[in-house]
């Protein structure tokens, strides 16, 4: 079946190398090219969002207003959140999926290559539009990445309309990317590879893709309602016309909570590939890992209101969302225990991908613990909207999602480029990032507990010392990412030839392919032997 697909969908790919010049990238339908573009895009967005974090942390370096005015500070926090979530983390994982899913399931390309091209090329336009709001009259959106009504409707700057269309475009891009992955995994697996023989990375993306298809349309719906409230005089979120601002939060978080799993599940997949390789031991509990993924995904649909415990829900609702949220700890715990069990009695080595993966397990678990604390509704009243929350979600997103992507890049870079990266530079990148991020985000737990609300441009004096520490950590973390940029460029330009299997006991179809990787792979499907 795969061969048939190839002839049907790839008319212009009869030659066995890429076209030359810039237009190659514009018209490409090759999953490797598109994966590369996604990853580069994600890195650029990561650096732009990082610069915004620099502005935020520089302003918060010490009490008093120094660099920016409070309005611009809010625009920075808003844009930082939007760009990191929709511009850096999500495209980063889609990039990994584009590169790896066909290689890992033995498919010649993604199932819908033209749509793949389109879903990438929407993104630069969407983000140009979003970033252009910074230069508009009234400034960029400053209502936080969660854009609660009515601050984002009645009281929003005029640029909110551009923000809404940018979100629509990102949504379309994500939905198409997700559909492509589902169709590929359902239809183009190598003959003999059943669903339960898929690599964990493919499994994690399959679940993620279903979450995306299910919730991105809900995000589209909620921004459409905002658009209608702003321009067509409806009252979805305005109490004056019979609407309810809290309804916005319910719909937003119905999207928003699965969204946070969209940002972490693929990282689970990456780590589940890396840890067995460097432990020289099979992944412990493959089946329970798959079931845990499914359980997390299903539970993510019924916990959304734990983001809004202070909104004034009846006690029954409060209890339901508290219990459901606590329940998520069970499948997540299973995953962590399985990773630890995989390492247990292995034969461990610590190359850069493994360092990032181990740091992922430890620090993600720290974020998970603060997550359990946040789930307890009566205590959450003290945590909600403080830096404790900021610490929590940065612990699951930076050493979680971002380390997941970076670990994946280090792991597969030798296969993609055919060249080996500089191991000592990689280790340096890891240790600088590790120290920097803990220095940044750990003190945030303390200031949050001591009473510092989030999203404030200036703070009371008792929070000064930890904030200064966090700012210094952020500068360290930010600048150390330049090591990574340098490392990638150096690898591509002058890296040493990589072996076909650069890691001692790596398993999986991608390692059966020659290095350097041909432009087209698996044009004849591989044979999967059943054990």
């Amino acid at each position: 079946m795969s061969e048939q697909t190839l002839t049907l969908d790839d008319h212009d790919h009869h030659e066995h190398g890429p076209a030359k010049g810039f237009l190659r990238w514009v018209f490409t339908t090759n999953h490797k090219d598109i994966g590369t573009m996604y990853l580069i895009f994600s890195l650029v967005m990561f650096l732009i969002g990082g610069m915004m974090a620099f502005v935020i942390r520089a302003e918060l370096f010490q009490p008093g207003m120094q660099l920016v005015d409070p309005g611009f500070f809010n625009q920075m926090t808003t844009m930082h959140g939007l760009i990191m979530v929709f511009g850096a983390v999500m495209p980063g994982f889609v990039g990994l999926a584009n590169w790896q899913i066909p290689l890992m399931v033995g498919a010649p390309d993604m199932a819908l290559p033209r749509m793949n091209n389109w879903s990438f090329w929407i993104l630069p336009f969407a983000f140009t539009m979003l970033l252009s709001t910074l230069f508009m009259e009234g400034g960029a959106p400053g209502f936080g990445w969660t854009f609660y009504a009515p601050l984002s409707t009645t009281y929003a700057p005029p640029s909110v309309t551009f923000f809404i269309f940018a979100i629509h475009m990102m949504g379309i891009s994500s939905i198409m990317g997700a559909m492509n992955i589902i169709v590929t995994l359902f239809n183009m697996r190598a003959p003999g590879m059943g669903l339960m023989q898929m690599p964990m990375f493919a499994w994690s993306w399959l679940i993620t893709a279903f979450l995306l298809v299910a919730v991105m349309p809900v995000l589209a719906a909620v921004v459409t309602m905002m658009l209608m409230d702003i321009h067509f005089a409806t009252s979805f979120f305005s109490a004056a016309g019979g609407g309810d601002p809290v309804l916005f939060q319910h719909i937003f978080w119905f999207f928003g909570h699965p969204e946070v799993y969209i940002m972490i599940l693929p990282a689970f997949g990456v780590v589940s590939e890396i840890i067995p390789t460097f432990s020289r031991k099979k992944l412990f509990g493959y089946h329970s890992m798959v079931y845990a993924l499914i359980a997390i995904a299903l539970l993510s649909f019924v916990v959304w209101a734990h983001h809004m415990f202070t909104v004034g829900m009846p006690i029954g609702g409060q209890l339901f969302f508290m219990y459901a949220t606590m329940l998520i700890a069970v499948p997540t715990g299973v995953k962590v225990f399985n990773w630890v069990a995989t390492m247990f009695k292995g034969s461990l080595t610590f190359e850069t991908p493994m360092l990032f993966a181990v740091a992922f397990v430890v620090l993600f678990t720290v974020g998970g613990f603060s997550g359990i604390m946040l789930a307890i509704a009566p205590v959450d009243f003290q945590y909600q909207d403080t830096y404790f929350v900021v610490a929590h979600f940065h612990y699951v997103l930076v050493p979680g999602a971002v380390f997941g992507i970076v670990a994946g890049v280090y792991y597969w870079l030798p296969k993609w480029t055919g060249k080996m990266y500089d191991e000592s530079l990689g280790k340096m990148h890891f240790w600088l990032s590790f120290v920097g991020l803990n220095l940044t985000f750990f003190p945030m737990h303390f200031v949050g507990l001591a009473g510092m609300p989030r999203r404030i441009p200036d703070y009371a004096l008792q929070f000064a010392d930890f904030n200064m520490m966090a700012s210094m950590g952020a500068f360290l973390f930010g600048t150390s990412q330049l090591v990574f940029v340098y490392l990638v460029i150096k690898t591509v330009r002058s890296g040493k030839e990589a072996a076909q299997v650069p890691w001692e006991s790596a398993e999986g179809l991608e390692w059966t392919l020659p290095t350097p990787l041909p432009y087209h792979t698996f044009t004849t499907p591989p044979v999967i032997e059943h054990k």
Partner: protein
């Protein structure tokens, strides 16, 4: 190739987009059932439960007002607080005065706290069911007739009914918009 998967996914996307909008009426239903957020139902037409085993008891009704967006109108309850027996029909009024030098339209939006009490506070007649057009400088006493359901859960001794007054003179929504029309029965 097999097109049924992409077709199914497109249908799912469309359905979920629709579901986003369907959450709006679903939320209203949910609110009416649970009293979430203190939303009150529209005009009460039901029969109160009666019988020997339902005891009438005294609760405090508290009336508060709020004005949105710095609306300078005068708006105050003529009774700040009253003791009522559950099951007893009660009347009160609110005073409102348009301080603008032009005619304007206002809408009062009700909210009840504790939210668990919302479904037990029945409004038989309320100015909040309608928009209030007022001439420049005009003042009126607006009526409210209500009854507290005898099945009000134990432990709720005081019910606060809040009205927030919104200036809606400039919202020119077409009457065909379903969501706009809805507010009349709210």
């Amino acid at each position: 190739m097999n097109l049924s998967t992409p077709r199914g996914l497109v249908v799912l996307v469309v359905l979920m987009f629709g579901f986003g909008f369907a959450l709006v009426p679903l939320y209203d239903v949910f609110c009416e059932i649970t009293g979430l957020n203190g939303k009150t139902a529209g005009q009460y037409e039901g029969e109160l439960a009666s019988g020997e085993n339902i005891q009438s008891r005294q609760v405090t009704m508290q009336f508060i007002v709020n004005k949105n967006d710095n609306l300078p109108w005068e708006f105050k309850p003529n009774d700040v607080q009253m003791k009522v027996a559950t099951g007893e029909r009660k009347d009160t009024t609110y005073r409102v005065r348009n301080t603008y030098n032009t005619a304007a339209v206002a809408q009062a939006v009700p909210s009840v706290s504790p939210s668990a009490a919302a479904e037990y506070l029945h409004k038989i007649e309320c100015f909040c069911f309608e928009q209030q057009p007022l001439e420049a400088g005009q003042a009126v006493d607006m009526p409210l007739t209500f009854v507290v359901d005898p099945e009000l859960p134990e432990g709720i001794d005081k019910i606060t009914l809040s009205y927030t007054l919104f200036d809606i003179t400039n919202s020119t929504a077409p009457a065909s918009d379903p969501h706009k029309v809805k507010k009349v029965d709210n």
